[in-house]
């Protein structure tokens, strides 16, 4: 909002300025016929490997006969912890609850681990309470364990997906999935909204770091491993009797294909591109028996995915054979043409089985019930959706598992951030480091004197990014990451252990000339649209360390530049073109650190990851060419993405009173 607004001071009455701009209103109707309608016959078929157990099917049929309409509608609705109490789950028979990134038990996002397990018990016990004569279907709890169980203080935080993509190591992915599942089970949840299998095509998108790669083949090569790690093999039921949870691949479809990388925007691409780029990872997801799929906020060809029957029912369920259930994103149904947050039968009719209705669950529940009673929604669709949800719950084993605290692994607090899991995380961090250039300074001499400058080098939250404890990964301090190691701490340990020394100096000043300097810089944490940017450049207020590098270089000190970021950014303004290590992920709890030894600086970590942009413009998938064999990236040359960016410079510093006029009717982007 900062780029298109100005500050006006005046007497109160003068403020009711008439709004002069006349922009085209946002389309709230479905596009013309043919647009945004898929043709399932051109999509691949897959085999969903989860066996159908006749005994389970008989149970489901029996339950469907005994459930009231209210109980059935309840299964289709998921409420957020912000806005639901255990007694609501009992009264409305809710099928699921979730915690969004900013929610936690008792209204406390930072609640200690035992509180989460206690809350899980309370909601479970309310759901199976049959005192009102109901069938008592156990509730399941979903959580964004997208890079480890990172909502929970003390859990192991793994690199975000862009960093994992840079590893090129599917075997390690399965271990990360298994460790994450175990930690989720400690606090009593059963379902993670992961893995994200997006294939981001424009890294200005604020969620780009949630994607393994812009190359659909690489993403597809990871998906099966992550799902096996989380869920176990598809033919092995009763996940809760073991150390597994159910997964969710998201966001179906083309969340990473929106125009200009605008979060929740519109993918203006052909059906073939939709299938071949964004659809590819859903093959291995289905073939490994993913239990749930989350549908995207975004649109395809002007039509919101959450209401797109041709893709959800036609392609995903019927053509691809997906046998689990489909859930929406956070109130995404409210964006469907003709819908509001409180009412959207269109989503159910399109093939959605469960509404993620965090704060709107009660009106959604009432609306669905009213429409079902009026015959506006066929019972066959309701029964199908309920059956799909029950089938997943039987596979999970939640009917026989007892309350969450009584299940295997529950309350084993030592598993949260256990040494074994941290070792996996550290390996992932090492493998995800990307060395851009080394003209001889690396490896550093550990016996020397090292200066560590820049910003964010002693701040775990800067290393961890969004979706860490809080939604945006902001408002945190190092004490909320027990057992973690900052970059500074890791460097200091590595230097002193080998007889050298390290000095922390954010502005790069020193009294004794160091043998070398590490200057850390990069992005601050962000999530979703809050991370959307107009250009692939660092925000102006984050470019301070460039001057520090320049100063150190001028003093004849070899400089290692370490960029912590959620996406590739232009680095040309960074002086000292000598060495630039770039870390693709911002995840690195216990990330010790940079290559101080030859062992760590070689091997996989030397592989080049997504190409660095040469300009601030976007990456054009059509102009894509292969670089370094693996990642498909190139800077684009199109007229709207020229080397001279078509956007105004990064937002003005705080407190600036007037901003330059901007073109009228330019699409507003997230702040």
């Amino acid at each position: 909002m900062r780029t298109s607004l100005r500050l006006v001071l005046g007497a109160a009455g003068a403020l009711l300025l008439s709004a002069a701009a006349v922009c085209a209103p946002k389309a709230s109707t479905a596009p013309a016929d043919g647009k945004g309608v898929a043709h399932p016959s051109i999509w691949p078929k897959y085999r969903y490997p989860v066996p159908r157990d006749p005994a389970v099917e008989a149970n489901i049929a029996d339950l469907l006969k005994r459930m009231t309409l209210e109980e059935k509608i309840g299964q289709l609705v998921q409420a957020d912890l912000c806005c639901v109490k255990p007694e609501d789950v009992k009264k409305y028979h809710l099928g699921s609850i979730l915690v969004g990134g900013n929610s936690g038990p008792n209204g406390n996002d930072f609640a200690p681990a035992p509180d989460w397990l206690k809350a899980a018990d309370e909601f479970y016990l309310a759901s199976v309470d049959k005192s009102d004569g109901g069938v008592g279907i156990p509730v399941i709890w979903g959580i964004d364990a997208v890079h480890g169980h990172a909502n929970i203080i003390g859990a192991t935080v793994f690199p975000h997906n862009i960093g994992l993509g840079a590893m090129g190591d599917p075997a390690l992915i399965e271990k990360i999935g298994a460790a994450t599942a175990q930690e989720v089970r400690v606090t009593g949840q059963e379902w993670t909204f992961a893995p994200t299998v997006t294939v981001p095509q424009d890294y200005r998108w604020g969620r780009a770091y949630e994607g393994y790669s812009s190359d659909p083949k690489l993403v597809a090569s990871y998906v099966g491993a992550m799902i096996r790690g989380l869920q176990g093999p598809p033919d092995k039921p009763n996940l809760l009797a073991r150390d597994k949870i159910i997964a969710s691949t998201k966001h179906f479809l083309a969340d990473g294909g929106t125009r200009n990388g605008v979060d929740q925007g519109d993918a203006q691409i052909s059906e073939q591109q939709l299938r071949d780029i964004h659809g590819l990872p859903y093959g291995p997801a289905i073939e490994n028996g993913v239990a749930t799929v989350m549908v995207s906020f975004s649109s395809w060809q002007g039509r919101k995915m959450t209401g797109n029957k041709s893709l959800i029912s036609g392609v995903l369920k019927q053509r691809m054979g997906f046998g689990g259930f489909v859930v929406t994103d956070w109130n995404a149904h409210g964006q469907v043409e003709g819908c509001t947050n409180d009412s959207c039968p269109q989503a159910l009719m399109a093939g959605i089985d469960m509404y993620m209705a965090p704060d709107s669950w009660k009106p959604v529940w009432n609306d669905l019930l009213k429409r079902a009673k009026a015959g506006e929604i066929p019972m066959s669709r309701i029964d199908d959706a309920v059956s799909r949800i029950l089938r997943v719950k039987f596979r999970l084993g939640v009917f026989t598992a007892g309350k969450p605290s009584s299940r295997p692994l529950a309350g084993q607090w030592n598993l949260l951030g256990s040494p074994a899991h941290r070792a996996i995380a550290r390996q992932a961090v090492r493998e995800s480091l990307v060395l851009l250039k080394n003209d001889g300074v690396l490896p550093l001499k550990a016996s020397g004197r090292l200066l560590v400058a820049g910003e964010g080098m002693d701040d775990v939250s800067r290393q961890s990014g969004g979706w860490t404890i809080s939604w945006q990964g902001t408002g945190l301090n190092n004490t909320m990451f027990p057992g973690s190691t900052t970059l500074w701490q890791g460097l200091k340990q590595a230097m002193t252990a080998r007889g050298g020394s390290a000095e922390l100096s954010p502005d790069g000043s020193f009294t004794h000339k160091p043998d070398a300097a590490v200057v850390v810089f990069g992005e601050k944490p962000y999530a979703e649209f809050q991370g959307d940017r107009a250009t692939l450049a660092l925000d102006a207020d984050l470019a301070g360390p460039y001057a520090t590098m320049k100063k150190l270089k001028a003093a004849g000190i070899p400089v290692v530049a370490v960029m912590i970021t959620g996406r590739p950014l232009e680095v040309n303004p960074a002086p000292g073109r000598g060495r630039r290590a770039w870390r693709t992920a911002r995840s690195f709890r216990s990330a010790t650190a940079s290559p101080t030894s030859r062992r760590e600086s070689h091997g996989r970590s030397l592989r080049r990851s997504p190409a660095m942009p040469a300009t601030r413009g976007s990456i054009s998938p059509t102009a894509c060419r292969r670089r370094a064999g693996r990642w498909c990236w190139a800077t684009s040359t199109g007229p709207t993405r020229s080397a001279s960016p078509p956007f105004p410079p990064t937002p003005s510093p705080a407190g600036r009173m007037s901003l330059p006029p901007t073109p009228r009717c330019r699409k507003a982007r997230g702040a």
Partner: protein, 127 residues
């Protein structure tokens, strides 16, 4: 921060400071996501009354939420939930002025920053 801030002294009566633009902004996505209007304010002399408001495109489209802010001479990043403004009836799909700070009576304050975000130091109640 102080260097970038702007100080406003009001001698009396009703006064207001607004961040506004020509093009209506669709803040529906931000509202759904529990985002807040953040403003970093230092109050040296508290007004008789104050409110945080928003204006949207259309006749009479706008809301104000009364706030009580202490004059403590410190910059504080306050947050007004967009959801509160929506609850009061604002049309968040066409916002023309996402931040309006109104006061009555003599006041002396400095404003350092206005933006959307989630990292408020103090979330204001939806009065």
């Amino acid at each position: 921060m102080q260097e970038g801030a702007r100080r406003v002294e009001v001698s009396g009566g009703g006064a207001a400071l607004a961040v506004s633009g020509h093009d209506p902004l669709d803040l529906g996505r931000e509202t759904n996501a529990e985002v807040l209007v953040l403003f970093t304010l230092k109050l040296d002399k508290a007004p008789a009354s104050a409110s945080v408001g928003l204006r949207c495109d259309g006749t009479g489209c706008g809301v104000r939420v009364p706030v009580t802010l202490p004059a403590n001479g410190k910059f504080i990043r306050y947050g007004m939930p967009l959801k509160c403004l929506a609850l009061k009836g604002a049309d968040m799909s066409k916002v023309t002025a996402p931040f309006i700070f109104e006061t009555t009576g003599p006041a002396d304050y400095s404003l350092a920053e206005v933006r959307l975000g989630t990292d408020a130091e103090q979330v204001l109640p939806c009065n």
